[in-house]
């Protein structure tokens, strides 16, 4: 793609929020027909930069030109009209409406002011056919999986004559086959001259699809490269601004306490525990100080299994023993009484309360377990919160900032802190590292390893096999809502071995 002129050029972009400079003179450019990856840790300014492009935020300084002409993007509609379309990380569609409507709403084909439903459905079906999807376009979106919803969001975005298409973490909830499907679509769009801004935390995906990448750190531009110029290790170092030693460290730690847990006594035993339609009856024993990893594809029942142990869903068969005594985990309060904590995968809707401050969010669970009649003294609160902000490196380290203003990775840490201060004996963490960057990921993994060394049992749910392998003593493999195999993690267990189990369903 020789030296054509960029379709989009942002120069000296500055965006300030109360107390933080989110973007500090960032330059960014995109050429037609390229996939451009925007890289950076959480809180580096990626989301902010994207939001200035999509009109959610107005910039405080700098200039944006589109096709050589300066533009002022004052709202989502203006962005779309200028040819900038976006698919957000969390699918932003209306699930109560039909698929066809979600694709066309605001741009419905009309005659004499009347929506032409037939034409709209046909066009929606055609558009989806281009993405190799065959869906009932008049069915409400809520009846489809998150992955399909994402595809619908992309269909909506490409139907607008987009010159710039922004895909913010589109792959974080897709499985491998769906990612391939998405990449096919992206390549086709690229050929037609669309510039695609791609954000993903999966480095392999970045390297597979992107032509060029721009790295941000702490709201500043670090550098721009062609992808082949930069190795993955170099990239990560530029993103986090330090050597990769931290990651290696985790590996050693997990290795050393892998043996240690052998003699521990069982903390929680589930026997024939199951819930019809959610997860088939399973047996699982978790020992003190043990990290049990749950591996399986999206929708294989990982979350469902974990939710039964926390009483978030009620089991309709089987029993649970804690310390050898039969207990009833009929609701989360009962589970909390047995000092079981659950950090949800869905941090935005099930965990974090955006308008409350970091301090209030952290203190929430502890206060709840004490009962509201006995407030925790403010001084004690500050003490605890400061300790965990430091321990988990929550940034910015300001306990009074509303959690809404924190990046995804830091929100995740706040959520973890909330459960950690209740000193659980079993911590269930569901996808703690989804959608967060390499640096924060390493920190959370390190933390899990440390916690288990301290005697806490951890049930670790993750879609990333490497992560599960690195941390777990024992790995439970799920497939089609059934626990199919339990593996002691040893040197000869690797990702291939687990993939085989996931693929074949039978233990070899």
């Amino acid at each position: 793609m020789g030296e054509q002129s960029p379709v989009l050029e942002m120069t000296g972009i500055r965006k300030v929020f109360p107390g933080v400079v989110a973007l500090d003179g960032v330059d960014f450019r995109m050429f037609p027909g390229e996939v451009h990856a925007l890289m950076g840790e959480n809180g580096a300014g990626k989301s902010t930069l994207i939001k200035t492009l999509t009109g959610v935020y107005e910039i405080d300084g700098g200039e944006i030109t589109l096709g050589g002409k300066p533009v002022r993007i004052s709202g989502p509609l203006q962005a779309q009209q200028a040819g900038i379309s976006t698919v957000y990380q969390e699918v932003n569609l209306c699930t109560n409406l039909s698929i066809a409507e979600n694709i066309f709403i605001g741009r419905e084909p009309r005659r004499f002011g009347k929506i032409q439903w037939g034409r709209m459905r046909r066009r929606a079906a055609e558009l989806l056919a281009r993405l190799d999807l065959d869906l009932d376009v008049s069915a409400p979106l809520s009846t489809y999986s998150l992955a399909i919803q994402q595809m619908v969001a992309i269909a909506r975005a490409i139907d607008v004559d987009a010159r710039v298409l922004i895909l913010d973490e589109p792959t974080s909830s897709l499985d491998t086959a769906e990612v391939e499907q998405l990449f096919r679509v992206m390549r086709r769009l690229k050929e037609s001259g669309v510039a695609i801004l791609f954000v993903s935390h999966f480095l392999d995906q970045i390297y597979e699809i992107s032509d060029r990448l721009t790295i941000l750190r702490n709201g500043q531009l670090i550098s721009e490269h062609r992808v082949e110029e930069l190795s993955q290790v170099q990239l990560v170092e530029k993103m986090i601004g330090k050597e990769l030693a931290a990651l290696e460290d985790v590996e050693d730690k997990a290795q050393s306490n892998r043996e240690r847990a052998a003699g521990a006594k069982p903390l929680l035993e589930a026997e024939g525990l199951g819930r019809t339609g959610a997860i088939a009856p399973y047996n699982l024993t978790i020992h003190e100080g043990e990290v049990v990893g749950l591996a399986g594809l999206l929708g294989s029942g990982r979350t469902e299994l974990a939710r039964l142990l926390f009483g978030a869903d009620k089991a309709d068969q089987g029993e649970v023993r804690v310390d050898g005594k039969k207990v009833s985990l009929r609701d989360p309060q009962a589970a909390m009484k047995h000092r079981i904590a659950f950090s949800s995968e869905n941090r935005r809707t099930e965990g974090i309360i955006g308008d409350l401050s970091v301090r209030e969010n952290i203190i929430l669970a502890l206060q709840a377990s004490r009962g509201w009649a006995r407030p925790i003294p403010r001084k004690k609160q500050d003490e605890i919160v400061d300790k965990y902000i430091k321990a988990l490196q929550i940034r910015p380290a300001d306990p009074e900032r509303p959690v809404r203003n924190l990046s995804g990775g830091n929100q995740q840490k706040v959520l973890l802190a909330r459960w950690l201060i209740t000193e659980p004996r079993l911590l269930i963490i569901d996808e703690p590292t989804r959608g967060i960057d390499v640096g924060a990921k390493a920190e959370i993994q390190k933390l899990v390893a440390e916690l288990s060394t301290g005697g806490m049992a951890v049930l670790f749910v993750s879609a990333e096999l490497e992560e599960v392998l690195r941390l777990s003593h024992k790995i439970a493999v799920l497939r089609d809502r059934r626990l199919v195999e339990e593996l002691e993690n040893s040197a000869d267990v690797d990702a291939d071995r687990i993939m085989q189990t996931i693929a074949s369903g039978a233990s070899s």
Binding site: P76, C94, T95, A139, S142, T143, A177, A503
Partner: protein
Amino acid sequence: MTTMQTSPVVKGDGPQLNKRHRSFRPNTKHVPILATLGLLVAMYVSGLANYPRFDNPMVVVNLFRDNAVLLVVAVGMTFVILTGGIDLSVGAVISLTTVLTATLLKADWPPLVVLPAVLVLGALIGAGQGAVIHYFKVEPFIATLAGLFLARGLALFINEDSIPIRNDMWRELSDFRIPLADGVSTKPIAIVALLTLLIAAVVLAWTRFGRNVYAIGGNADSALLMGLPVGRTKIAVYTLSGFCAALGGVLFSINSTSGWAGQGNGIELDAIAACVIGGVLLTGGSGFVWGTLLGVLVTGLIRTLINFQGDLNVAWSQIIVGVLLFSFIVMQRLVTRKAR
């Protein structure tokens, strides 16, 4: 992540994935409305079985006449509830409209000036509330509660007593009968109510504005990010509700040929109840104006049945509406939970 060896056995290819979803309860959103329809039919049939004169077509025709005002107001309310809002001011807007209409007609204003004037006033009150809700991010409950006090206060300020209307046009409209069949006729207000319903149904199903209303009720944040005019639509919805309330007030004043500040008291709650019984989700985004019609008819038919029975206290109609509300809300919960 390393490349996964996904065999087709594990994931299934695209079409297979989709098929699994396709047979997935396509008509969830119709369940509440069908339940209400079933209830209505059952009530009517039980009326036929128990009371000899129930088969008179006037029973049905009068249902529309007696509930014309409620229907008009409930239609406006449906738009508001579909966006996830609520409008408590409609009853007060009705009383203000009737009082103002009667006062202006008494002062010999030409009726063709009074009519548009009060309708515009109702729309403006609605628009004002909508603007407060949108621009100052005030809860609709609070904003329209303020509107309620304001409008009711104004009505009382203008005149505390009932004012008779002697205007010819109003009198003629009140006495006019539209023959439908042999011995069956109805009043113009029923026709106006049905027209309002029809227009609303078309607007909701066939226009961008209508679809935006559903989108906002489904997820306002998403709607904004999809580039929909959220603010404009919200304000429009309250404007519409205010307009419908004023229209209801006009119908009231025609029906009773009088204006009184106590008129329409509490009708906002009847309207909300009708919407809910008709399957309009209070959280927004789901429901039809036809459901609202059914809800209005159900509450009306309860009253008719009690009249036919003769020896029952009218309080029973409220008790039954209360029971119905509870059961419909619970049913909506169950249906939406299953759909998830």
